[in-house]
Symmetry: C2
Subunit: 475 residues, 2 copies
């Protein structure tokens, strides 16, 4: 399925974007001209694609021609042609500008499936047992896992005990979890938002988790769900997956790992240790649309026991019944997610992996990490500033120092506002351990060293203005 | 904002698709070349766009040049440029092939907002009070309204009473509702799936609804939510919105209207009566990706009281705090939906409306309805067949007649399989009132009369084969 190209990779520049895009447009137009020649409903056997795919993701980039040839030879035969004028089924769904639309997952754009147990790199997410599905967002993925966990437990203790269920995470956990808890009907007062601190670099303490669980059990609650984060939004903290996973197993909690941002980094061997203990997880999510060159939206969710998702989310109305589903020959991903219909997200992720190759995807991650290190060293050289939390990935958290905590927050707030109001750069803030910090998140596909250097100059310039105005810097 | 063009509309043919698409690719490449010239964070004032927009959607199509000029002049100044190399905020979200990405709804692609109270056509959905938001799917929209309704009631009766809440709909209602009920933690046994029949053309009987509500109240349950459907999936049935709405008001139920498919038809005056009583609704959803030329995914949700959504779905972590949100100067659509991040769906819907104009969108709907009528009359002329349920929109439900109900189902099942296995067309089935029926749903943008005629010939051909094989047709 396409030979590996040895071309040197360079991230798509403007011409590359234009050329690739127009080639795809022509491809789609051609597909469209021929659409009446295809059987309207796919005639392939379930699983047909498995034999056509390589065992591993490509290390080197492949040409777009090769990728499109595989779409023609291998993907299109597996599609039901929803845009065909001879399509009179269901209600039609429009897909005007990308006429390749997959409603039910008859095709698997592998290696995004369980088969790739040996693929050492990108596909660690979906290797081993369990199964993977592409969602639109972490919140959606978390809602589905919460519902699966909730129902598994309520089947044992009775639906009337929903208000006894307890969910655990650190105070650094993304707000998606809290929102998910509310959505699935668990009282928000049953969300245990466990404190973290500078001393643990804002990672969740296994001891505080176990204490909280024990307290809840004594009080008659039922511990349900634990979310650990690899790369928190506020400061890039990493929870200790292995230690937390053991506690989750001990108390029979559903253990979810949210690696929305930093999961992408784990395609590089040097970052993979952050996932040690992953085998203890019931589910894991990461977002290629954050740091893996994939367009919004694309969230990979892996679950250890897909049947638990299916038991909570399946629905089988008459109008969807078909032989392939009823014989369990295909995976009905509608039962792994909230919505019935699905966009064909696997296609874009598959093209990203093939067009760039694992080698260049790793290069992409490492170049961002190196730029973050560069910024970090610039901050470290200026005695007015400090890096507040150790940098692990491509996020640097820093601030102007000041002896007075309140004044420090005020100064940094003003500095950030001045930088952003200039229009020359945009950063955001967070508050960790009571400190207002500025976040410099390296993530643009267009970024070069000069942008980092310019950012630092801009910050210094605004800090000088601020010092002139307040005389307060360096106190 | 762009002058109305008087060009004659024709739906995009292959060349039109190619030309328009390549113009957009060039536009994006140009944006990308200039990206460093824009202030990274949008510097416009909230609401700036309201003064730049016409009061009504265009009746005639506009040129793509005009639309893109407005994107340059009016939309881009309102964007925070997430793809800029000077973007160091949050974690970056990739949007490689459409670099216009809107994370938080600082811009409103109106007229998709409350302002358009006078727009008589497409924008009826979002006129008057209340507010609109674009979701990805009906199920997502329903989950959000169910959660808002659930929490409104639980605030009065206590969270521990979640298992008393009851949801009502007809047995023709889309499975999305049942799935939504389970997702939000209401026991599935509290879903009242009320029977419909041929005598009411499969619409929900107000009397049976009221009886069910009264029974539940007597049994100690708390009636919560009613979903009416305008254009059911199985057979295009329409629930009596006005009568059901009055009952919902009487018993203080949240009243949702699911117009996923047929809502698009209501841009034509002759179909709008199906929504009479809409003023009684708490929420309404419809999917332009089904029948309004908009790419998957796009579901319009209107709610009478947005604050109820916000009370259930809001989350305000520190890393998202900003002056505009805190002063309530902008609408934070993250609090109207499940996910935090949002794709810029408004842009595609806005382009569809402007590029086609209301006149041609109505033409599009009517041409499909006329093709369905054509098919219906072909069926009616053949005494072996019958139209099973009155056609209201572009869906024709028909079957081979047979005196024996079991044999009839078997014959129609075989007929449908034969048609689909030919690869020349694809239809699906449903079961209503115990009868297996074949659904012919006209919906393709490419469809012409010949496709309908060919479909009918194909059906007749397969029916003849079946008669030869079984000798059972016409018994």
């Amino acid at each position: 399925m396409g030979s590996l190209s040895t071309n040197t990779f360079s991230s798509l520049d403007s011409d590359g974007f234009t050329n690739d895009s127009k080639m795809v447009i022509d491809f789609i137009a051609e597909y469209y001209k021929n659409i009446e020649n295809y059987p309207v409903q796919s005639q392939v056997k379930p699983g047909y694609l498995l034999t056509k795919l390589p065992d591993t993701a490509p290390y080197c980039p492949e040409s777009l021609e090769d990728v499109l040839k595989d779409v023609t030879d291998s993907i299109i035969p597996g599609l039901t042609h929803w845009q065909s004028p001879n399509f009179f089924a269901y209600f039609q769904i429009k897909c005007k500008h990308c006429r390749v639309c997959c409603y039910r997952a008859r095709i698997h754009c592998n290696g995004l499936d369980g088969k790739d147990a040996q693929a050492p790199h990108l596909l660690f997410l979906f290797s081993g047992n369990g199964g993977g599905v592409l969602h639109g967002s972490t919140c959606e993925a978390i809602v589905c896992t919460l519902v699966a966990a909730r129902d598994r437990t309520l089947r044992n203790i009775g639906a009337e005990n929903i208000a006894k269920l307890v969910v655990y995470a650190s105070d650094q956990t993304h707000s998606a979890l809290f929102k998910g808890v509310k959505l699935v009907g668990i009282p928000s007062s049953n969300f245990r938002c466990l404190s973290t601190s500078f001393s643990s670099e804002f990672s969740l303490s296994p001891q505080s988790l176990e204490d909280a669980i024990e307290n809840d059990i004594k009080a008659g609650y039922v511990p349900l769900f634990l979310c650990a984060t690899v790369g928190t939004t506020a400061c890039g903290a990493v929870d200790p997956v292995m230690d937390l996973g053991k506690i989750a197993r001990k108390y029979n909690l559903w253990f979810h790992i949210d690696a929305a941002y930093a999961g992408s980094a784990c395609i590089c061997p040097e970052f993979r240790h952050y996932l040690d203990g992953i085998e203890l997880a019931d589910s894991l999510s990461m977002n290629p649309h954050k740091w893996l060159l994939t367009n919004m939206d694309c969230c990979c969710l892996w679950v250890q026991q897909p049947r638990l998702l299916i038991e909570s989310l399946s629905s089988n109305p008459e109008f969807l019944k078909n032989n392939a589903s009823e014989s369990n020959a295909v995976v009905d991903y509608k039962d792994w997610q909230i919505a019935l219909s699905r966009r064909f997200r696997a296609l874009k992720l598959w093209v990203v992996i093939r067009r760039h190759g694992i080698d260049n995807l790793m290069f992409h991650i490492r170049s961002h990490v190196n730029l973050a290190k560069r910024f970090e060293s610039l901050v470290a050289k200026d005695s007015r500033f400090e890096v507040v939390v150790p940098r692990r990935f491509s996020l640097v958290c820093f601030r102007l120092k000041h002896n007075d905590a309140c004044k420090a927050s005020e100064l940094n707030r003003k500095l950030l506002a001045a930088v952003n109001e200039s229009g020359r750069a945009f950063m955001t803030h967070s508050v960790v351990g009571g400190l207002f910090i500025i976040r410099c998140a390296v993530g643009s596909t267009l970024i070069e060293e000069r942008h980092v250097d310019d950012l630092w100059k801009l910050i210094q310039e605004k800090a000088a203005d601020l010092d002139e105005e307040t005389g307060a810097i360096g106190e």
